[in-house]
């Protein structure tokens, strides 16, 4: 392709936008609306996921050992568990440390009555934090099969609720994204179809003169891409501003919320969101116009 052809095609693509101005505006508006909703959902879901992940960090499995198990054996199991991918962190608490803590928390000066005895001498334990709570039960059944282990304490409900919440988030986001993309492709395709019908005479003339398929089609595809690009950048700006304003408002109004969770800062997710949205927007524009051009221009 020659450079002048490139500029010609690009120029025509931009001119198409103004030639059927209202339709262009309408489709930019609808894509903006779709991607705006997408952006809002994404921000809400990112926060929700963050809450779930924070909650997951607190869910742990506690392992107690049979009488007579040595500390070396316990530490060997700790090292082994730390190798597993679903395990984020393992804390070892010796019987002595457990007793010290119990004394300081609940007994205070009365603890002296126990002298050198440790009533919690069987309470050495491993505290396991996971990266993925949905794999908790398989981990537990593995640990229970280890012969030095006496009992494994865990919270089944917390784990299953959290992993269900995670699945739901994934499902909901997927469904919404699919729906919005379908709607936007339909709209872009309509705009391009209108553009083609408006310019059908020009297209016929181009064909008679000997324009290649590429030269005829390219301006329409570029038109679609530009619509997609504008339709993705615009809502991102709006989402950014709204998110900032909303989180500021909620954090200052409902200070007690802070003890439960904090909003994600825009820097934590906005880069990803921007990238995804622009890819979706340009993708919608490209494929929407490509499909339409192929169907309407049998050149």
């Amino acid at each position: 392709m020659m450079i002048s052809t490139f500029w010609y095609t690009l120029g025509q693509g931009f001119k198409n936008l103004t030639r059927n101005g209202w339709y262009t505006l309408a489709s930019i508006a609808t894509i903006t609306a779709s991607l705006f909703l997408f952006g809002i959902f994404y921000a809400v879901l990112a926060n929700f996921q963050n809450i779930v992940q924070e909650a997951e960090k607190g869910v742990s499995v506690t392992v107690f050992f049979h009488k007579g198990t040595t500390e070396d054996e316990m530490l060997a199991l700790k090292a082994e568990l730390e190798m597993r991918p679903e395990v984020r962190q393992v804390d070892f608490e010796s019987a002595a440390a457990a007793w010290e803590e119990f004394k300081s928390q609940y007994l205070g000066e009365y603890a002296e009555g126990y002298g050198g005895d440790n009533p919690l001498e069987d309470s050495s334990n491993l505290q396991i934090y996971m990266t993925d709570v949905s794999r908790q039960s398989s981990l537990v059944s593995y640990i229970e099969s280890v012969n030095i282990v006496r009992v494994v304490n865990r919270s089944e409900i917390a784990a299953s609720t959290l992993s269900a919440a995670n699945r739901l988030i994934a499902l909901v986001s997927f469904g919404i994204i699919a729906l919005l993309i379908a709607v936007s492709v339909f709209l872009i395709s309509n705009t391009v179809a209108v553009g083609i019908s408006i310019r059908s005479e020009e297209i016929t003339i181009m064909k008679y003169i000997g324009a290649t398929d590429f030269i005829v089609r390219a301006p329409f595809v570029i038109e679609g891409i530009i619509i997609g690009l504008i339709g993705s950048l615009l809502p991102m700006g709006i989402v950014y501003l709204i998110y900032r304003a909303a989180t500021d408002y909620f954090s200052s109004r409902f200070t007690m919320l802070k003890s439960f969770f904090s909003f994600l800062p825009t820097s934590a997710f906005f880069g990803n969101l921007m990238l995804i949205t622009v890819i979706i927007g340009v993708g919608i524009g490209f494929f929407g116009s490509m499909i339409t051009v192929r169907r309407h221009l049998r050149v």
Binding site: Y208, I209, G210
Partner: protein
């Protein structure tokens, strides 16, 4: 000086045989359009063209006449490769139109200039843009476009109005813009479909004279027309069609009444 003259001579001599070589392999000497036994049937009804054969030499000026429904439009569409023949062979400028690949069609059409009854100009652009447009779509370098377009507009006498919107022009002027557009890519054949159909007699003659000039410069010109007066006074080859067949083909012919 002498050397320069010799060079020019040599160039001229080089050009002549090259042109011959190009036409030789496929068709008989200097035949630019060969239609052999072509039938075109649409999905419904009787054939629009029924086994016609027509041979046109390079540089000829040919009128194709006939009533509506005689098959003229179908013939034009076949020559443009807008349609494919149902049977028979069409060779235009060495391209076998029955076998030409889709990708080659644009290349083929660039060697054809076409003019329509309704001008088919781009109404939202000015005269210059309409002609330049033809050069853009065939990817002429931008530096050459201006020279070529200016030259063409001078040829059709519209250079002073190059900035006007085509909607501000008279019918005759619009057709001249269309002619300039058809010729700017230097086609081997000019195909005109009822070029004077929407024009008054004065403008019709202007257009016809331009076409004759273009023909004298070596372009093969084919004009489909209803204009009896013009056909009868120009004394060119006339091919008469009726109900899908060629009923008469005369050198220096006339447009005869059926009755």
């Amino acid at each position: 000086m002498a050397d320069e003259k010799n060079n020019e001579k040599n160039k001229a001599e080089e050009k002549a045989p090259r042109r011959k070589r190009r036409t030789k392999p496929r068709v008989t000497q200097d035949e630019i359009i060969t239609i052999e036994n072509v039938t075109k049937t649409y999905q419904t009804g009787s054939p629009a063209l029924n086994g016609i054969s027509l041979h046109i030499k390079r540089g000829e000026f040919v009128f194709i006449v006939g009533d509506s429904g005689s098959g003229k439009s179908t013939l034009i569409k076949l020559l443009l490769r807008e349609l494919e023949p149902t049977s028979g062979n069409i060779t235009v400028m060495g391209y076998n139109l029955g076998r030409i690949r889709h990708r080659q069609i644009p290349k083929f059409r660039r060697k054809l200039g076409i003019v329509f009854q309704d001008f088919r100009l781009l109404k939202d652009r000015n005269v210059y843009e309409n002609v330049a447009f033809a050069q853009r779509v065939v990817q002429t370098p931008p530096g050459k476009i201006r020279n070529n377009v200016t030259a063409m507009l001078s040829l059709v006498g519209l250079a002073p109005k190059y900035k006007n919107k085509v909607t501000q022009l008279s019918g005759g002027e619009q057709q001249r813009v269309a002619l300039a557009r058809a010729l700017v890519n230097k086609p081997d054949i000019l195909l005109a479909d009822e070029p004077t159909g929407n024009l008054d007699p004065g403008n019709s003659w202007e257009i016809m004279k331009l076409m004759e000039q273009i023909n004298e410069r070596g372009t093969t010109v084919i004009v489909v027309t209803h204009n009896r007066e013009i056909v009868n006074s120009m004394r060119k080859r006339v091919v008469t069609m009726n109900q899908g067949v060629i009923v008469e083909d005369m050198e220096e012919g006339i447009y005869r009444d059926d009755d």
